[in-house]
Symmetry: C2
Subunit: 197 residues, 2 copies
Amino acid sequence: MPKLGMPPLRRRALIDAAIMTIGERGTLDVTMSEIAGRAGVSSALAHHYFGAKDGLLQATMRHILSELNADVRKALATSRTARERVSAVIAVNFSATQFQPEIIAAWLAFYVEAQKSQPLRRLLRVYARRLHSNLMSGLTGLMPRPEAERVAEAIAALIDGLYIRRALKDGTPNATSAVALVEDYLETKLLQHKKPA
Amino acid sequence: MPKLGMPPLRRRALIDAAIMTIGERGTLDVTMSEIAGRAGVSSALAHHYFGAKDGLLQATMRHILSELNADVRKALATSRTARERVSAVIAVNFSATQFQPEIIAAWLAFYVEAQKSQPLRRLLRVYARRLHSNLMSGLTGLMPRPEAERVAEAIAALIDGLYIRRALKDGTPNATSAVALVEDYLETKLLQHKKPA
DNA sequence: TATTTTTTATTGACTGATCAATCAATAAAA
DNA sequence: TTTTATTGATTGATCAGTCAATAAAAAATA
């Protein structure tokens, strides 16, 4: 049985290799040998550490999720106002570390796999809930709660939508215009509450 | 060589079976035998008609796309005003024929496959362009063109985003709330142009 | 119309390739 | 000396794609 704690040297290398491979190929349909090869080890070792392929994929998803989460926390920590908090959450999703072709492709691939795999579905739901509550933490200070709920829902949909559309284009993702689009929506909504009809 | 025109009896059955199978399983990772079996024929026949698996998948995507397109045309035909045209396009995307679990799942699966397959990517780009221009056909009558571009972009992202998020939940999709969300965005934007800041 | 010929529809059985997963063996640490 | 790390080789399953054979339709011919 693989040691889970101490020196996750190879574990980490395998997860990184998995992200790269999945991202490049745009699918979870990559072989264990391919991933292992890129990590400089044999496929047998990958099985040794992660049990089955599922295990590696889940660990990989968990890793992406926790990186995103760490980034969000960091960004929220330096935000003072409610308004800033919302923008911080948005910004992180399109930051240089997150909005990369490989990561975007991997996200998309995991979304699809989640339809087959219950553990992955669970992970993605955790992410969705977390995103929602992070957005709410700012939005509730800016508008009535039921409206905040709807806006959070919309922002989340926009983010996912921009990711999926981004995956279809080639070249470097344009984070700036993506953020601008979401911010424009938010700004419009806020205006609506400052000068009510 | 398969006859392309006349009695697309089996062709159609195979495409329908493909949609069902892909939709249920939420992945393009379905076997030719599975699809063929559901259509009540042998897998060899599927190859006879579509050449390779790719061929069947592309035909399936094309079919979904053309159904959607037909629905949009129909809806646009009965729309009088620019405002109605925009709503019509939105409504069709969440109509009973389109916003079904199987179709949604299939869309998502095709999106991912498009990262590998150039023909599928091309098809999805055609769809994206078409959606954009359909939205613009209404929006240009309601706001200045550059703003209309941005709003069309946002609506498209919202639609894709709502699809992808929908795919993660179970149960019947809630089209009503999805439409409401997009319409709310549109309405907010329109208000902004009626009473400018 | 009846008969022959050609084309199309359809299948079961087979092949070759690909891969996840296992395992026994060895090296290295603890 | 026991546990952990690591591998090459192997196995078993799964599938896409092929093919030769047969049935059924359609077209051509008598």
